[in-house]
C-alpha cells in the first residue's frame, strides 16, 4: 500500500505510556507486558507515537551514530509486531524542534525490551482509585 507519509499511531487504548527521566515506559494493559526502551528508542518512540513522519528521523544523529533507514525500519517493524503502533493515514505531525538535539544526546542504539513478570499487576491494578476530596484510603462507593 502506498502511503503519502510514513506516520504511525498508538495501536489501541490498552497501550499506555509515560516518560520517566527521558525514558519511555510503555504498558499493554490487555496482556500486562512492559516495554522498556533504550535512550534513543525512547525518543524515537515519543516521536512515532505522536505521529511524526518516520522519514523525518532518518539521517539524524542518534545513539552515537547516524540513524539509518534500515535500522529505523527494523525498529518500527518491531513496534508494529508488538502491537504498540499501527500505520496512520492521518497527516504526519512536524518534527518537534527540540527532537534532533534530544536524539543526538542519546548514547544507546534503538532497542525495545519486553518484560512480562509483572503482567498480573499491570492487567488489573485493583487498588489505586484514591480521590483526594474523599480523603484516603478511598471509600469505594458504588457509582
Amino acid at each position: 500500500m502506498t502511503r503519502d507519509c510514513d506516520a504511525y499511531a498508538v495501536a489501541s487504548r490498552d497501550i499506555v505510556f509515560e516518560s520517566f527521566d527521558g525514558e519511555a515506559v510503555v504498558l499493554n494493559l490487555a496482556n500486562g507486558k512492559y516495554f522498556g526502551f533504550s535512550d534513543s528508542g525512547s525518543t524515537v518512540w515519543q516521536a512515532l507515537s505522536s505521529g511524526v513522519d518516520a522519514r523525518a528521523l532518518i539521517g539524524l544523529n542518534a545513539g552515537g551514530s547516524t540513524l539509518g533507514a534500515a535500522e529505523l525500519e527494523h525498529f518500527i517493524s518491531q513496534l508494529l509486531e508488538l502491537g504498540l503502533l499501527v500505520p496512520s493515514e492521518t497527516a504526519a505531525q512536524p518534527l518537534p524542534g527540540e527532537l534532533p538535539a534530544e536524539l543526538a544526546a542519546t548514547s544507546e542504539p534503538l532497542h525495545v525490551s519486553i518484560h512480562d513478570d509483572l503482567a498480573d499487576l499491570i492487567i488489573v491494578d485493583p487498588i489505586h482509585e484514591v480521590e483526594e476530596p474523599l480523603g484516603w484510603p478511598a471509600v469505594k462507593q458504588a457509582s
Binding site: 509515560e18 488489573v124 458504588a142
Partner: protein
C-alpha cells in the same frame, strides 16, 4: 510476639471505629500494638479513636498536620518500638478478619527464618459494621492482590526495606511491596484472608492520569532497580489478580 499494626487515618470517622474493632477482637493472637496516625483529619476521626483508647491501652494515637498517606505511613514506621517483632498495616476503612493474625503468626512461630507472610484479600461490596463480616447479601471475590494488609513483615525485614518512598503521592504501597519482594525475603503465601477490602464491582474503571502515572512509575522503578542490580529478584507468581477482570463487569 509483639505485632505492631500501622493505621493511617484521614477523615474516616465512620470507618475507623469498625477498622479498630476488627483489630481489637484479635488481641489474643499477639501482643498487639496499634499505631494510629491521624493525618490532619478535620472530622471526628481522632475522637472516635480516643473513645476506643479509653478501654484499650494497646492503641497509640499520634496526630500530625496533613502530610498525605506516604509520609503518614513513614510516621508509623518511625513510631515502632524496639520490642516490635512483626509489622502489619490496616487502612482505616478496611476490616481485619477474625483469625487473620493467629493464622499467619503461627507460621512465624514455626519458622524463625521466615521474613514475610503474604496472604489473600477479599474485595467485598457490603460489610456489616456490627459483626465486622461481609453482609449476608454481599458479593465478594478473593485474590492475592497488591495490598500492604496482605503482608505481615518481620521487624528485620522492615528495617531492610527502609521507608516508603515519599516521592510517590500514590502507589507508594505498590513500590514498597515491589521493593520487598525484590529484596528476596523468605516468604510464604498462605490462604489466609488477610483483609476485607470495601469495594464495589463495576467501579474498576481506568485510573485517572495521575494514578496511572504513579503506578507506572512504581513499575518503572522496579524494572530500573533490577536492571542495575541483577541480584534483585524477579517478581513472579506472587500476585493472582486475573479473576478481578471478570468482577469488573458483574
Amino acid at each position: 510476639m509483639r505485632l505492631s499494626v500501622i493505621m493511617p487515618v484521614h477523615n474516616r470517622e465512620t470507618f475507623v471505629g469498625p477498622a479498630l474493632r476488627s483489630l481489637l477482637r484479635q488481641r489474643n493472637a499477639a501482643d498487639l500494638d496499634i499505631i494510629v496516625i491521624d493525618d490532619g483529619s478535620t472530622d471526628g476521626s481522632a475522637e472516635m479513636v480516643r473513645s476506643l483508647m479509653a478501654e484499650n491501652a494497646c492503641i497509640r494515637l499520634f496526630q500530625q498536620p496533613n502530610m498525605g498517606v506516604t509520609r503518614t505511613r513513614n510516621t508509623g514506621l518511625g513510631l515502632l518500638k524496639p520490642e516490635t517483632d512483626l509489622v502489619s498495616f490496616l487502612d482505616s476503612d478496611d476490616i481485619s478478619p477474625v483469625g487473620r493474625f493467629s493464622a499467619d503468626i503461627e507460621l512465624f512461630r514455626n519458622d524463625p527464618n521466615l521474613d514475610l507472610t503474604y496472604s489473600r484479600m477479599m474485595l467485598v461490596d457490603k460489610i456489616d459494621d456490627e459483626s465486622l463480616e461481609p453482609a449476608a447479601d454481599s458479593r465478594s471475590i478473593t485474590v492475592r492482590g497488591i495490598h500492604l494488609s496482605a503482608a505481615i513483615f518481620t521487624r528485620r525485614l522492615v528495617e531492610r526495606i527502609g521507608v516508603f518512598d515519599e516521592a510517590f503521592h500514590q502507589a507508594e504501597d505498590t513500590d514498597y511491596l515491589l521493593r520487598t519482594f525484590e529484596s528476596g525475603p523468605r516468604y510464604v503465601t498462605p490462604e489466609t484472608v488477610a483483609l476485607y477490602y470495601r469495594r464495589h464491582p463495576g467501579n474498576m474503571t481506568r485510573q485517572t492520569d495521575v494514578q496511572s502515572r504513579e503506578f507506572m512509575r512504581a513499575i518503572y522503578k522496579s524494572m530500573t532497580r533490577r536492571k542495575a542490580d541483577p541480584t534483585l529478584r524477579r517478581i513472579e507468581g506472587i500476585f493472582e489478580l486475573k479473576d478481578l477482570a471478570d468482577w469488573q463487569f458483574m
